[in-house]
Amino acid sequence: MQKRSVIMKKAFKAAFPYTIPIFAGFWFLGMTYGIYMSVSGFSFWYPMLMGLTIFAGSMEFVAVNMLLGAFNPLQALVMTLMINARHLFYGISMLDKYKGTGWKKFYLIFGMCDESFSINYTAQIPEDVDKGWFMFFVTLLNHCYWVFGAALGGIFGSFIHFNTEGLDFVMTAMFVVIFMEQWMKEKNHISAFMGIGLSLLCLIAFGADNFIIPAMIAIFVSLTLMRGKLEGGEGA
């Protein structure tokens, strides 16, 4: 039986490299968010504390507009449920992986943003590394990057003059790599094709701001209809 500090150190060392792209991406996006809040007239406490408690990037940008508009808590709740509905899919996929992680499970679910989910789902965690701690550190590091980025953006945003145009592509690149990793692991690619194809169709049909929910419904219905065909040979 290894000592707890040894287990933790090992898990941290294994988890950190996976989060380096997120470091670059969240530092940038978090700063952008902090700057956006500061030019909208909020002190740095807002982006910092909202980053800490909400921890859902795109939603926090939308929340700025909510705070600037008329007070409508019900609308805020409904909009949040719509924008973040994709988390339901993450949860269903992680039911097994988060099992048996003890008290850490609460934090893992709390911090299950797009990036933490993607890494924790696809990472090949070495046999001798504790899975619970690995996923905990991935989530915690991502959370820290985001909160620090948001706070820095809120404090120093207006003083920074480094040409960062295009740095946000780091997130796209990461999801492309994760998509490819999943592609190489699976036996058939029907679900992957449907994810790309149906999302594209819905994007064209419903536009950039409204396509997520229709795409989720289309994916959900198609996968349900194809259950008989996919269940035998799916490789996950």
Partner: protein
């Protein structure tokens, strides 16, 4: 908005986000066997979801205006080639991002 109203609004956003994250775990607790159908979804959904996330990142790219999505297409190709060649996550991501930054800052 008053501070109280701001806090309530932020609270609603937190509540909504947490509902979407916790709901599957509340509906299908670890102690009870998860229905077969949900287990099936848990296995086949991720591939589709990663596809959805890629499209989500590209949702504001316009094929008929601006750069016509050319910098994105080239950079994604760079990511894919690097990843097929080296299969080192960090190299693929860094290579594609640097390529994209150079393209949007210097070329387009």
């Amino acid at each position: 908005m008053t501070l109280t109203q701001q806090l309530i609004t932020i609270g609603m956003v937190i509540l909504g986000t947490m509902l979407t994250r916790f709901l599957p775990f509340l509906l299908f607790p670890a102690g009870k066997p998860t229905p077969k159908y949900i287990q099936y979804l848990g296995k086949v959904l991720p591939s589709a979801v990663f596809g959805l996330l890629v499209i989500y990142c590209l949702k504001n790219v316009s094929l008929f205006a601006g750069n016509h999505g050319i910098p994105e297409a080239i950079s994604i190709a760079v990511v894919a080639v690097l990843h097929l060649w080296k299969r080192q996550m960090l190299i693929s991501i860094a290579g594609g991002t640097v390529c994209y930054m150079l393209l949007v800052q210097l070329v387009f």
